[in-house]
């Protein structure tokens, strides 16, 4: 049965996601909630909300920092917020608290800091949470449209390495690439994609359900170490493509080689500013030498976040 090929639309912060972001207010203590509602914010531009005990409320809005200085955050408000974030059940979020963040409904990341309780050199839990950072989810549908034509070869995706400095939107582009490949686009039908979401940033699962749009044929391993997750996905979910974010260590590379050897394609991101950076990284340089990667995509934020600087093929010949 032939699948209808869909067109991708660019939908930067469409109406649906703004409403989703407004819901983030529900996790705050009542008093803080009232103040935030009174500020009449555009939730499309709101990026972070920070609460610190005894300090004013701080917002990161449209890349600028704003202080709500009439409001000093109290310990009770922080405790109340923690209670709501954990759905009144702190015991149920022990694992998340150990990692330092909780993903709430809507895909927003709530980070916690406070007194860490260690046991046998492992972080056991956080006590006395006094600092909260709420990062609102901002998925950009259509962010990967520009690179789509380069990622496909005869209707099949290629091993793609996305190289980017921090803050240039690589996760956003990876997410949209996953969505596009999973749903199907002008270049190919939709296919099964597996995502190893170690830091819960790509899919932002809440209670096991991805809060970001990542495609109907996508399976997610949430908070799973990359090297184990990739092998698990190959064995259990038979994906055609596996996507991981920020590789760097040798065990990740071993797993990558295994996946490539199984015939599954890879979409991977890595820190760096240019292709040459990768050639000098200790473990990655082998993969470059063996020509595992069929496409290299370099990002920067010239002009706008997520700007495509250049695209290279497996031999390093520049395509764009």
């Amino acid at each position: 049965m032939r699948e209808p090929v869909r067109k991708c639309q660019v939908d930067v912060m469409g109406e649906g996601s703004v409403e989703k972001n407004r819901d983030v207010l529900r996790i705050f203590a009542l008093s803080v909630r009232k103040i935030l509602e009174g500020l009449d914010l555009d939730f499309g531009k709101l990026q972070e909300i920070r609460l610190r005990v005894g300090m004013p409320l701080i917002l990161l809005y449209d890349n600028h920092e704003y202080l709500v200085d009439k409001k000093i955050v109290s310990r009770e408000e922080i405790n109340e917020t923690v209670e709501y974030v954990c759905n009144y059940s702190v015991y149920a979020y022990e694992e998340e608290l150990r990692q330092g963040f909780v993903t709430v409904q809507g895909g927003h990341r709530v980070g916690f800091a406070g007194k860490i309780v260690c046991e046998n050199d492992r972080v056991k839990s956080i006590k006395n949470i006094s600092f909260i950072n709420v990062r609102l989810a901002h998925e950009v549908i259509g962010a990967a449209n520009v690179i789509l034509p380069y990622v496909y070869d005869k209707g099949f995706p290629m091993h793609t390495l996305i190289i980017s400095p921090p803050g240039c939107g690589k996760t956003t582009i990876l997410r949209d690439l996953v969505r596009s490949v999973s749903e199907g686009n002008a270049y190919a039908k939709g296919m099964t994609v597996g995502v190893v979401d170690e830091r819960s940033e790509i899919a932002a699962c809440y209670m096991g359900i991805p809060q970001n749009k990542i495609g109907m044929r996508t399976d997610v391993l949430d908070c799973c170490p990359k090297e184990k997750g990739m092998i698990m996905l190959i064995r259990s979910m038979s994906p055609k493509v596996i996507a991981v974010d920020e590789i760097g260590q040798s065990k990740d590379i071993e797993a990558l080689k295994y996946v490539a050897g199984c015939g599954c394609k890879l979409f991977v991101t890595v820190h760096g500013t240019r292709l040459e950076d990768i050639k000098s990284k200790p473990f990655l340089q082998d993969t470059v030498k063996d020509e595992i990667w069929e496409r290299y995509i370099v990002l920067d934020n010239v002009g706008h976040v997520g700007n495509i600087n250049s695209i290279y093929d497996k031999k390093g010949i520049r395509l764009k």
């Binding site: 529900r26 996790i27 203590a29 009542l30 909630r33 405790n79 109340e80 209670e83 709501y84 954990c86 759905n87 009144y88 059940s89 702190v90 015991y91 149920a92 979020y93 022990e94 839990s125």
Partner: protein, 176 residues
């Protein structure tokens, strides 16, 4: 004349025995409800210990697995908890108890309700070990109340029934 007297006598005896039997019945129902409550708290412990379900969902699951007065109480509490309206859990529980008119409709004593409310105060903000600890404590409390209740029921039920009948007879004689 005699007929009316006979009716009167029968009415008094029946009424008095009825009171005796119904007091005995209330005691039995209270014990049954306490046993049911204990079963539900056991389920709650299981949900928290082995699955780590958040409270709202746990209440919903428990509410759907039981019938009777607790069913609506637990399920409505789940709905309130999901609203995240800014109330703390003990207040929500208390409100729900009042809306469901639990105290009137059920046969538990005031003391039993006080203990349950106390338990609700300690839900949610503790880590897993301590949370399970408070649940264990409340379960012990319930068990001891149940044991005591069973003992006294054995004694008192017969007592109430006999007293009911004899009081009826006595009143008949007095008013004959």
């Amino acid at each position: 004349m005699f007929g009316i007297k006979a009716c009167g006598i029968i009415l008094i005896i029946v009424a008095s025995s009825g009171i005796g039997f119904s007091i005995s019945n209330i005691m039995k129902l209270r014990l049954l409800e306490l046993a049911e409550l204990k079963k539900l708290i056991l389920m709650l412990r299981g949900e928290i210990k082995y699955i780590g379900t958040p409270l709202g969902e746990a209440f919903g699951v428990i509410g759907r697995r039981t019938k009777g007065i607790y069913s609506t109480l637990f399920q409505d509490t789940e709905k309130e908890l999901e609203k995240l309206d800014g109330k703390n859990i003990a207040d929500i529980w208390k409100e729900q108890m009042e809306t469901a008119q639990m105290i009137k409709k059920s046969h538990l004593s005031d003391n039993d309700w006080k203990w349950l409310l106390n338990f609700a105060q300690n839900l949610g903000y503790l880590d897993k070990e301590m949370q399970l600890g408070t649940i264990e404590l409340y379960m012990e409390q319930l068990e001891s109340t149940l044991a005591e209740g069973n003992r006294s029921y054995g004694k008192n039920s017969k007592l109430c029934k006999c007293l009911g009948i004899s009081a009826g007879l006595l009143l008949t004689i007095v008013f004959l």
